[in-house]
Amino acid sequence: MRTSTKSLKSVALTLVAGLLFSGASVAGTTAPPANDPNLTVGRAAVYQQLPASSLEQLSTPDRIVSITQGSTAPTEIWRVLEHGEKVECLDCIPDVAKLLYDGNAKTREISAWWLRRRIFGVFGAGEVYSQVLSTLTTGTTDAARSYAAEALGEFLVRDGIAPVAKAAVSDTSSMVRRSAVRALERLNNEGPAAELATALADQEPEVRLAALHATVSINVFSRLDAIVARLSDDSPDVRRRAAEALGTMRATDAVVGLIGLADPAQESDPRVRTAAIGALGRIGDSSAHDAVQAATGDSDPLVQSVAQIALRRL
């Protein structure tokens, strides 16, 4: 998905180019013959009887290179790289590395995924990984540092944790900080100094929201208090997500704060009240009974319905 302004003329030209290009680019996606040697790797080599339609169809190295040269639909880029998972094309690496800074988020993600599965050419000194690390700290544009953070998250390498954690709390750009928080989520880590908790108090709501999302996705998050503090956030979106996160974590310590958010006299946004009441139901602490009971008469129909359900859990 891209956002820009084009003229109708350019649209028509793009259309023609797209159709012409597509004829070449899509031709290889029909099912290959059952005896295609590309289908006889891995488990298929063990059980040759598996039908061709069930098996991975590998991309060729030439095709991998071609999709990095521009004018290819994002969906085709994604397909070729995903089907090139185990294609050990060393010469493809420098070209695919350029896609780490593509304008399409999913293209960036999949190119990082493909690169991280290389045994050579990516993680050596001076190679792609170290270049990305350098970009995170020295990139001259917000976008470059942001995309570098995303790539480090998708590379899933432990050494990426410290630099993205630092970027999550110290980069001057909220775009970079948000990407770094998302990278921590991908790395399944709250940061060496619980930087994820620090990011929960970031000045920009989008960073705080990304951090809240990460807290319920990673296996271990140690700073419940940092989430509880967000129940009084200025942003209703943040309050809503904080309530939901505390419900996911069954945080009994948060019941008092959530009861406050369930009250229309204290919380005017019905989306936040819905989230708070849903969380109280999930936590299941009987001290919330009266508040949830009262919410069954809330002026908002969706709050009412969630309260009726939450009441059954108390």
């Binding site: 109708l8 259309l15 180019a17 029909t30 590309n38 488990r43 060393l90 993680f123 069954r250 059954r312």
Partner: protein, 808 residues
Amino acid sequence: MSRPFNPRSLVSPLLLGMLAAAFVPGCATKGPDVGQAAAPDGFDEIVYAVRQNTVGSGKTVTIDVADGMGQVMDYGRYVPGARLEVRNLTNGDVRNLIEGDRFAKADIEGMDLSFDAKKVVFAMKLDDNDNYHVYTANLKQGTDAKNPYGVRQLTSGMQDDLSPIWLANGNIAFITNQNYTQMGTRADEYNHGRRVTQVGTISEVGGDADRKLCSQNLSHVFNLFRMKSGQIGYSRWEHLENVNDSKLFAMNPDCTKMVALAGQHGNKQVNSLVQVTEALDKNVFVAVGTDRERTIQAGTLLQIDARSAVDDSNHDEERATFDVITPSVPTGGDSSPVGRYRTPHMLPDGRLLVSWADGYVNDVNELSQTPPDFGIYIYDAKTRRNQLVFNDKDTWELYAQPVATSVEPPPLDSVQTTQDSTIPLVIGSIDVRQTSLFTVHQNTVGGAQFADGTPMDQALGSAVKVRIIEGFSSEAAPNVTMFGLTMAEGAAILGEAPVLPDGSWRANVPPYIPMHLQAVDEYELAIRSQTTWIQGMPGEDRVCGGCHEDRSAANHPSAQQQPIAATQIQNFMQPIADRIEYPWQMTQGMGTLGTNSLELQSILDAKCVQCHDGTKNGNDAQETYSVTMTDRDTGKKTTYKLSRLDLSSTPVTVTYDRRTATYPASYVSIFYPNALSMEMGQGATITGSVPPAWGIPSDARHSLMIEKLNVTSAIDGTKNAWKLGDAFSDSTITKDGYVGVKGGTRTMHPENVGITLTRDERKALIRAFDMGGQFYSRQNTGFQAYGADPVAAATPPTTSTDPMYPTP
């Protein structure tokens, strides 16, 4: 993609011109911007969801075609502006069930009409900062001005609940990406960070208060569909190494008895079977058949007859037949202008209410900034024609159903009432030798003691154990780039259950988690590795007839009324730390080696590196080959040198600062030759001769290193898997320098040079190869369990009062 806003330009005249020449089935012409046909017989109204593909106003709009729909199992698409419409086909009246500011930014994913045709259940995301949750709405307007259609929210929280369907007795099934089990975020290894979706159930009355989570697959479960039997039907993404496709499954509403329905055998003709509706006959289905990606989740229509030949009220997945009923529509990702179908729904007269879009319905739309235009049609398989019902060119109309009552399926008795994961799942077989793998599917096995082409039923007669392997994704082995030079998932052995004299076996295993089985012979080698994941609920008892028994034949114990294993159950309810893993090398102090596990490099260090290191290989000097990478922009060449067989822990030059992605020379020496075989000889510039495939992931039986080591029988120590004194399977010497296994003929190695490998050490190597040849496991990555697991952690029960599950 974006372009100036002009609704009339959403369908390009150029594109239409091309389509007119190529379009084949049915309704070839475009109707007006809002087209509508006369009401079909049997119903006056239809209900459907309207989804947007275009956002913006003024000079710039964003056209979003594939985001969140790039693959058939994707669910992350959010474009605001959805409506839930009931349209009267007689008079054209339309009412939107989700009117008002509260729903102005909503998107809808999935919808199902109740059996009494009075309400719908659907998944809705209210805004960009929300998740998809399950809602209901009445079709008729009520008296509450604030909530005229009685919209109720049944689920909430920080997870997506999607694709709901009605079940008997006012229950609802849906898919959810909620984290549960100690693995936390379960992500398909092949689908990156997108959390996989599993099945959950609620009641209409209780919503989340009755929330129940079903056992997990390693990959996505998606596109639920109703079944006349009362079961929940669903598509399931299957990913075991390079098996990658979507097949059909079913289970009971209490989450038990997951069974294969269709697509596991036979020529299903497509990669992915999705969006299913059951036909007028029970166990006959119509599905969308398509490729995994790039078709905007649309494709051809297939009829699937999965009826059992013995009892047509039951299904038989291994004899299911597949017939394409829209033959001109592509079955794959072909670039075709014909058009594609989505979300079929069977009508009472046998025709299909479908969504259909003309044109390419793939990334051509992305490039041309012209979204496919899904409208509602009736497809008649007899005439192969589409009849227009309703189409708005500016939006997608999906999930259409006629507003008509339907027969509520029978409620199925629930045998499963707990989500306590300390209560084991019981799995087993009546007789592993009962199999249709050869008689129906002609599957054979070769290698070691089996000549090539040995029938599978004959080979399974040699099974002495069943190996139960837990599968997990990279989220359970944090901070690793991949599990190794293999497509295989993370793996741990829960246990090996002995096959008793009558062929039976039975074991207590942890519920919820995905597993697969291997029948194992007396040499510790897998005979057959199950190519699908199995799983079950706490307290469930899942005993099969055999090892892929005939689905239409009775399965009886071979010797007596009850299998011997009925009273000899193994207990494999082990905490994660005690499960058997084979980390290749413990890395930088990360993690702790379990008491039942072995580090493979330590075996190699003690028993192998004396003769196989960086300078020597047996009696010879070490040989090397190299691969070279060329940067086409700079011309810079980087060369990596590899040894023929260096079993030392010396790091190869693949690390950054010696701290990341470090692989020891042993791992690279053993598995890189096989990895290179996947590149089709086009990618890398290779100098020297690539060694033989010492290690083949998931195939110890054909791995030349295992053959070189050889192994004796656990039953008769005088027997070897590979006959002593015979030539190796690959002792080839070619003109271009390739040399197979050296060292004369088969021996027991390294015993022939005075070094003894214990049986446990030899077994560890065989098992590690058969499990997939992973470098990483949980134990060498510092795995910590997910902290917000809503089901209790699995720990071994000390005593059991349940007569069904006696304390072992």
